[in-house]
């Protein structure tokens, strides 16, 4: 088996008496979408925070292409190739769609931003950003301020910014949050095509989207992974049914 692109090895995080992550080991391989599901309070946000660098695990390590990145900051991990999207859109609301996407491209460039060169005239970065906008279907809206976008378009833009980072792995925190049926449908199609560019670790509540997209699913309950397997495996797993899926499956 080839080396995973992104991997956590036994990461554990306590908040006082609460165990938010209990020896979580996950891996993400090239070309796949690996979904992490679990009830509210299962520790999904804490897990993402540790993978992306906002929290340091008490024990365990995070690896990107075999390199231990546990000691790196959020920004350094992003530079190393982890691109994340946020559950609640975190965008520069006063700036335009293109400016936000350029920010991702700027991160992809991996060097300190220039103080003097006009960013929008940087052909290479601009090409990255425009391609990302094209791919998510926001190219027409490049000059619109984020504040004037619909909720669904902001979710698309979240993906575009991450895409412009030309990452090695995506970590997506509930990209479908707050989307209606058609929005979910469009974004599902978009993510489906994205896995060939970089694998996606997908934390998501929308089960239809998860079952449609995931190559593998891990189920997180009380900070522990109770099962990992294909969509069919998870649907059939009795522990998962008891702990979580219940009537959803």
């Amino acid at each position: 088996m080839t080396e995973p692109v992104l991997e956590t090895r036994g990461i554990t995080k306590h908040f006082g008496a609460l165990v938010a992550s209990d020896a979580v080991s996950l891996d993400l391989h090239a070309g796949e979408i690996h979904a992490v599901i679990g009830p509210n309070g299962a520790g999904k946000s804490t897990l993402i925070a540790q993978i992306c660098g906002a929290l340091t695990p008490d024990a365990g390590t995070v690896h990107l292409e075999g390199q231990d990145v546990t000691a790196l900051s959020t920004a350094e991990r992003a530079e190393a190739g982890i691109a994340r999207t946020f559950q609640i859109s975190s965008l520069a609301m006063e700036d335009t769609v293109l400016q936000n996407t350029m920010l991702g491209a700027l991160g992809a460039a991996g060097k300190r931003p220039s103080l003097f060169r006009p960013i929008l005239r940087d052909r290479a970065l601009r090409a990255l950003a425009e391609a990302a906008l094209e791919q998510v279907g926001l190219a027409e809206r490049r000059a619109v301020r984020v504040a004037d976008l619909s909720h669904g378009q902001r979710r698309q833009l979240e993906v575009a910014v991450a895409l412009a980072q030309a990452p090695k792995a995506f970590v997506m925190d509930e990209p479908m949050a707050g989307l209606g049926t058609s929005g979910t449908h469009d974004l599902t199609a978009l993510l489906d095509g994205l896995r060939t560019q970089a694998p996606i670790l997908l934390v998501e509540h929308d089960m239809d989207a998860v079952f449609a997209l995931a190559d593998r699913i891990s189920v997180l309950v009380y900070g522990r992974i109770i099962a990992t397997g294909s969509v069919e495996d998870i649907r059939r797993d009795s522990a998962v049914r008891d702990a979580y899926l219940g009537d959803a499956a």
């Binding site: 994340r84 946020f86 965008l91 006009p118 991450a162």
Partner: protein, 327 residues
């Protein structure tokens, strides 16, 4: 309603035309007022780089303004007394040359901003406001209690410093110098705002998490902005001292920090020429209302209160229509 760019041109043309007219009609006092506007606007442009682009509410920019002033005062006083600043390990003498003084002011302002920024930028929000205010006050008390350069009384410089090829004693020529420096600083702000650095800095103000997730460090971006900001304000301080041929601890006073911020607010936050409009309005009010009443600060306070509560875009915001932050 008009475009911001046009209003900026009108503002700057006005700031140039008034002293030129005063020069033709031989009214040197008006030229001096216009010079004050240009210098204070320059100090405001410095703060605006931190405040407007970076969202850094620094209430301690008087520190940099005063450092610039004292850079001028110390260098020029040693030069006029023919007394070297120090002799070991090498001979370091004072100077009456503006370019050297400006460079010294910029470097010293930058170093101070680096040190203050390293500590205060670890915090945010109200902490940042209080800490920058406190550091400003530290310089104020230090300048009062340090007797070598006049302590509370300050330092007087007998003759304005020189600039190669110009007669700086001629008000219109000194104004021209200040005006050109103001234009350069505005150009710097404009360039920074359009650069990748400016994009990231401005984004960090709106969503810190997003900027980090894109692989950039907000702390570093803000530190760079704060240092550049301190440098520009220090340059303004050196000019201000040269205009008055006097420097004293009041340049370090917290009221000065407040006033520099007021210029930006009266003009319009994050507007390129906000500090120019604000400083012009401030000096005009000071001149007119100051003539009407000794208590003109009451009116200034009331006006400021009204602007903050009811007209948040300031003068420029009231005159131009909304545009994208930078296109």
């Amino acid at each position: 309603m008009m475009r911001e760019r046009h209003l900026n041109l009108i503002l700057l043309a006005g700031l140039l035309a008034i002293p030129v007219w005063a020069w033709i009609t031989d009214e040197p006092f008006t030229i001096t007022l216009a010079t004050r506007v240009a210098i204070l606007a320059l100090a405001g442009v410095g703060l605006n780089i931190a405040l407007g682009l970076g969202g850094l509410v620094s209430l301690g920019h008087a520190a940099f303004f005063g450092i610039g002033g004292y850079a001028m005062g110390i260098l020029a006083s040693h030069a006029q007394n023919y007394d070297p600043i120090f002799t070991t390990p090498f001979l370091f003498e004072g100077t009456k040359s503006m370019p050297v003084i400006w460079l010294t002011a910029i470097v010293m302002g930058g170093i101070a901003a680096l040190l203050i920024g390293l500590i205060s930028l670890r915090t945010s929000g109200v902490y940042f406001i209080m800490i920058t205010l406190a550091f400003g006050q530290m310089f104020y008390f230090f300048s009062i209690s340090w007797p070598a350069y006049g302590g509370e009384d300050g330092l007087s410089i007998w003759v304005r410093n020189g600039f190669p090829g110009l007669n700086t004693l001629d008000p219109i020529q000194f104004f021209a110098l200040c005006f050109v420096l103001l234009l350069l600083a505005l150009g710097l702000h404009w360039t920074l705002a359009r650069s990748g650095f400016g994009l990231a800095l401005n984004a960090a103000r709106q969503s810190e998490a997003r900027v980090e997730a894109a692989g950039l460090t907000p702390f570093r971006l803000r530190l760079v902005a704060f240092v550049i900001s301190g440098m520009v304000t220090a340059l303004a301080g050196a000019l201000f001292a040269d205009l008055n041929r006097f420097v004293s601890p009041t340049m370090f006073a917290w009221q000065m920090s407040g006033e520099i911020m007021v210029f930006i607010i009266l003009g319009g936050v994050a507007r390129l020429c906000g500090p120019v409009a604000g400083a012009a309005l401030f000096i005009t009010l000071e001149h007119w209302l100051g003539g009407v009443s000794d208590y003109w600060h009451v009116f200034l306070g009331a006006l400021l209160l009204l602007v903050v509560l009811f007209a948040r875009g300031g003068l420029i915001g009231a005159l131009v229509k909304k545009e994208p932050a930078h296109d």
